[in-house]
Each structure stands twice: as structure tokens, then as C-alpha cells.
């Protein structure tokens, strides 16, 4: 488990996937030799919140204490994560597809994968819009209890099943790698998909296990 006495740079060295998360949390610059407590103080961040996020991303079994993650900060973080997907992850995936298609414009696998990805991304963007327009504002707005619970149930339903789709895509690409394809590009695409899949799983886990219970408590109040 990551504690406030751990050096932030060591934490990142052990798990490089945490670097974009630390960047989203505003802690990636000049971490030097400082431990997490010192970095948080220097950047005026709540150390319990930062530890809650880092540990949740590091271990699928970890659940932060309810008070560790303040709701408003959590929603700001999730919104930043959405922006990261829109501006970084999704364009990166399409970049690989475009490069592969330039080399093999008539390859059926690429045409089908692109169509599949288009549909997946469309659903993902709709889901992001739904969260940002209907779920996140629940913290501030005074909506009727019925409206809140309908939206929360819908959020929970949307998370189930979506997570298998990227895993299936990888499986199918691996089984149908065309002859004479640029293997470096396929390799990069598969790595990007794996990273994207993990981000999606972590994000859904964050919302199902942490955000939704917190919103339900808020509604009960």
C-alpha cells in the first residue's frame, strides 16, 4: 500500500501507469526526492485524497475510507480523466488505425476494427456526456430524489458489459493479424488498447465503488 512517507518518484517508478494519473492530480512537476506528504503540502493538495486515488489505481482490491475522498475533488478528478480520454487516449488509438490503413487501405480487419472502435467511442462519449450532465451535477443541484435515483441506476447499468468490449477487440485483432502488416504498429495499437482497457476498468470501479455509494449517502441526507 502507498503511504504518505513514500517518495512519489519511487511510486511512479514501480508503476509507470500512475504517471498520467499523477499528472491529472497536478503533481507531476518537480517531484524530486520528496515524499507524498511533502509534495501534497507544496501543491496544496489533500494528502488523504491523493493517497486514496493512488492506492485505488494501484490495487483492484483497495477501497478508500468514505471520508478520504471528498466528493467535489473526486468529481473534478473524474472530469479530468474524461478529458484525458477525449484528448489523449482516443486520438492515440485512431492515430494507429490511420497509420495502419495508410499502409493497407483495403485490409478488411482494419476496416472492421475502425468501425467497431467508432461505435465503441460513440457509446463512450455518450456515457461521458451523461455523467457530466446528469450525474456530476447531482452534487450541487437540488434534483428530486426520484430523478437522482433513476440516473444513478442508469449509470450503474451502463458500466456493466462495456468493459468486455475492448478485451474482445484485442482478442480478435491478435487472432486475425494480416500478412505483411507493420507489426510494430499492431504492437503499439495492442499496447494502447490494453492501457485504455485498464483505464476504463479503473474508471468504472472508481464510479461504482466510490462515487455511487457517496452519491447515495448524499441522497439519503
Amino acid at each position: 500500500m502507498i503511504t504518505e512517507n513514500d517518495k512519489l518518484s519511487d511510486v511512479v517508478s514501480r508503476n509507470i501507469d500512475l504517471l498520467p494519473i499523477i499528472h491529472r492530480l497536478g503533481l507531476s512537476q518537480n517531484m524530486g526526492e520528496r515524499n507524498i506528504c511533502e509534495v501534497c503540502r507544496q501543491n496544496m493538495k489533500d494528502v488523504n485524497f491523493i493517497l486514496g486515488i493512488l492506492n485505488t489505481y494501484s490495487s483492484a482490491d483497495y477501497l478508500p475510507k468514505p471520508d478520504d475522498l471528498e466528493l467535489k475533488s473526486l468529481i473534478d478528478f473524474l472530469t479530468l480523466t474524461h478529458n484525458y480520454h477525449k484528448k489523449v487516449t482516443i486520438p492515440r488509438l485512431y492515430g494507429f488505425i490511420v497509420q495502419l490503413k495508410q499502409q493497407m487501405p483495403n485490409e478488411k480487419l482494419l476496416l472492421i476494427v475502425e468501425k467497431y472502435l467508432n461505435q465503441y467511442i460513440k457509446k463512450l462519449l455518450q456515457h461521458i456526456d451523461f455523467e457530466e450532465q446528469d450525474i456530476f451535477p447531482l452534487v450541487n443541484k437540488r434534483k428530486s430524489d426520484d430523478e437522482k435515483s433513476v440516473n444513478i441506476n442508469k449509470l450503474f447499468r451502463q458500466h456493466t458489459n462495456v468493459e468486455n468490449e475492448i478485451s474482445d477487440l484485442k482478442t480478435i485483432i491478435i487472432r486475425h493479424i494480416p500478412q505483411n502488416v507493420n507489426m510494430d504498429l499492431i504492437n503499439d495499437l495492442l499496447h494502447a488498447l490494453s492501457h485504455f482497457e485498464k483505464e476504463q476498468l479503473d474508471h468504472a470501479r472508481f464510479e461504482d465503488k466510490i462515487l455511487i455509494p457517496k452519491l447515495l449517502v448524499l441522497m439519503a441526507d
Binding site: 478488411k108 480487419l109 476496416l111 472492421i112 476494427v113 468501425k115 467497431y116 461505435q119 465503441y120 458489459n161 468486455n164 468490449e165 478485451s167 474482445d168 477487440l169 482478442t171 480478435i172 486475425h176
Partner: protein, 187 residues
């Protein structure tokens, strides 16, 4: 599976006779008819046989299910109820008291026509390809069951087998697989 060899095990003589008439009228042979659940020595002799078993024998049947399946037998429950009960899932298929002759024959024929090409572990059978194509075309389990004259329970079993064989879990993934393998038009 030996094409068209079946055994009927049912307490009711009326049901035995009814099943016998329906099977014979469709040229499905019957090797034995019994009114009690047989002993081990008899069960172990059956290989690649279609067994039509009174579902009230579920507790006796459960103990031998694994061995019967290992010998390539197809296990069809015969229910005097009109609805599925929780124990019916031990069977490969269920014939209900209100099923008409066509429905019974469809359920049985499926196994006679299909089992022979399900032997290879990860190859989809003709029936599974048919169902996968319909899933990729967006049909629900209910519509697939109606179109193929099989129960929803059977459709669900096929879908589980398809997912297991292909290692693909989502409907989108199955559709992608179907498109790549020319089962549906990807446009």
C-alpha cells in the same frame, strides 16, 4: 451419436406411449422404454444415446449425470409441468407436457443433426454459427428461439458455448467476429 437411437424413462405409461408414437412417426428408433430409473450397470452401457428422462427422477439422475454426459449421451428431461423449474437446468433440453409434436421433434432433431459436428473443442457447430449470425444481426434470445423452434433456455446454452469456444464475451465482439468471418455484412 448413433443417429436416431433413444431410450424413454418415464413413470407414466401414457407419456411413454405418446413419446413413442411421436418418435416413431419421425423415424427415430427407440431401443428401450422403462418406467423406473435404471441401475448403474444399465446406465453405463448407454453410449451416444438420446435419453428422454422423467424430470421427477432428477435426484437419481443427478448422481449419474456426469458419467452419462461423458459417454456422449444427450439428456432430455420430460416434464409434466408447463413451465421450467430450477432442476430442469441439469438437462440439455426439456420437453414440456404442453409441447406439440412439432416442437418435440424440433428439440430432438437439433441434437441428431447437430451433435456430430460439435466434436472438435473450439469449432462452432452449424447450429452455433446459425445462432451467432442471428446475434450479430441484433436478434434477441426470444426471437432466435421462436425462429429456430427451440427454447430460450437452449439459445442461452448455445450462447454460453459460443462465448466459451471463442473467448469473446460482448455482443459487439461477437458481431465483429461474425463480420470478419463473413457471417454477416460488416457494413
Amino acid at each position: 451419436m448413433q443417429n436416431g437411437v433413444s431410450v424413454i424413462i418415464h413413470k407414466s405409461s401414457i407419456i411413454q406411449q405418446g413419446l413413442k408414437n411421436i418418435l416413431l412417426s419421425h423415424n427415430i428408433g427407440i431401443s428401450e422404454i422403462m418406467n423406473t430409473f435404471p441401475v448403474c450397470a444399465v446406465l453405463n452401457n448407454w453410449k451416444n444415446v438420446l435419453l428422454l428422462i422423467d424430470n421427477q427422477y432428477v435426484s437419481e439422475f443427478k448422481k449419474h449425470r456426469k458419467a452419462l454426459k461423458k459417454n456422449g449421451n444427450i439428456l432430455i428431461g420430460v416434464s409434466i409441468s408447463a413451465v421450467f423449474n430450477e432442476f430442469d437446468s441439469f438437462f440439455d433440453e426439456i420437453i414440456f407436457i404442453n409441447d406439440g409434436p412439432d416442437s418435440i421433434i424440433n428439440k430432438i432433431n437439433y441434437y441428431f443433426s447437430d451433435v456430430s459436428d460439435t466434436k472438435t473443442d473450439n469449432q462452432l457447430s452449424i447450429r452455433e454459427i446459425e445462432i451467432l449470425t442471428m446475434v450479430a444481426m441484433g436478434y434477441s434470445n426470444k426471437i432466435i428461439a421462436d425462429k429456430l423452434f427451440i427454447s430460450i433456455h437452449t439459445v442461452i446454452t448455445h450462447r454460453k458455448n459460443i462465448t466459451f469456444k471463442l473467448g469473446i464475451k460482448s455482443i459487439s465482439g461477437l458481431t465483429l467476429y461474425a463480420a470478419l468471418n463473413n457471417m454477416v455484412d460488416f457494413h
